[in-house]
Amino acid sequence: MNRIQVPIWLAQILKAQRKCNIVPPEWLNLKTLKELYQHEVTDLESFSELPFNWLEISKIFFENAPDDLSDEIHKLKSLIQDLKEIRMIKIKKGLTLINESHLQLDNLSLMEINEIRPFVVSVMGKLTSMSEAVTQDEQEVEDEMESEDDDASMYGKE
């Protein structure tokens, strides 16, 4: 048995052909997932550092290589589900900070972003266009006032 690194799509093909076992990532076991969950519950201000594709990777293992996981699969699944739910609660808490300029969401994973993307993009877009509606005009007013100032000084010289 040799251990090498290949892209996950290739590992899936080899696995389906019974040519290999896939080695699970170091976080995909009960012990680490429990620790991560604990971190999510105790630190409400930030998200634990899961990989950007943790949901996709765990899904691939559950569906294509369940026998390569060292723990009972239904326990792993329910922990992943718990993790996702507690993180979604925190995401929603974070969304209340939304404003027309920006929102910071460090350590959010791709699927979690996809889940909220259409909604937050739409809300922030609307907040932005309302802000723009009143600031653009301020700019124009300033421009007009400046040009009036220019006129005044010209008359002053004469």
């Binding site: 892209p7 080899l14 696995k15």
Partner: protein, 218 residues
């Protein structure tokens, strides 16, 4: 992904790749796929058309041609009872499918946005042809029935432009790839972009960093 494999032929292929010189080439090829994937994602997420990845696409297309030729050559041998090559061909085909999918989606996404200066030669020709047939269709359908002064498709009078422009204020998700020394200002707020952080920000504020590659749209 780490895999434990017990399949000698494939292993030999990979070992060949791990010789120093070839390893570098493999790395470069991997980087190209990575770059294509990011270009595709950025293009899909950005409200405007981004620069066309000219040389990257050239390299990938020529490698795709090589692989297709390789498959064709070896499928003939397959008939003369070469069994081990079957899996190898299947792997190559899978990768071709993956790369072709992204490549096609990348090109199509670009064709949904229209800014001439960033288009490749083929894209410009396509756009002109597409636009010509669209005008012809509109004309035969209804435009010719309208009074002449209402027939224009590019009227910008009356404070109301018929030409749609990309909405640069649209918020986008981004990941910071390199620390940005200067804070960006939006209204009264100043935002520090730190490597690794994820933000939702209006496109106009970070446009130049998308172009420079210091941030990636996600």
């Amino acid at each position: 992904m780490d895999v434990d494999i017990g399949f000698d032929d494939i292993l030999r292929d990979f070992e060949r790749d791990s010789r120093p010189n070839e390893a570098n080439i493999t790395k470069l090829k991997e980087d190209d796929i990575q770059e294509l994937t990011q270009a595709w994602i950025s293009e899909r997420m950005s409200p405007e058309l981004l620069d066309y990845k000219d040389s990257l696409i050239e390299r990938l297309l020529s490698r795709i041609r090589e692989q297709v030729e390789y498959i064709e050559l070896n499928s003939i041998e397959l008939q003369t009872q070469e069994k081990d090559i079957k899996l190898q061909l299947m792997i190559i085909e899978s990768e071709l499918d993956r790369v072709n999918f992204i490549l096609r989606s990348y090109l199509r996404t670009r064709n949904d946005e229209d800014i001439v200066k960033r288009l490749s030669e083929h894209e410009t020709a396509y756009m002109e042809k597409h636009f010509a047939s669209l005008i012809q269709l509109y004309n035969s359908l209804f435009l010719s029935q309208l009074p002449q002064h209402l027939q224009a498709l590019d009227d910008t009078s009356g404070g109301q432009s018929m030409i749609e422009e990309p909405n640069f204020q649209k918020p986008v998700f981004l990941k910071v790839l390199e620390d940005i020394p200067q804070n960006i200002a939006i209204g009264d707020e100043e935002i520090e972009l730190t490597k690794g952080n994820i933000y939702l920000i209006r496109y106009s504020a970070i446009q130049k960093y998308v172009h420079s590659g210091d941030v990636a749209l996600i």
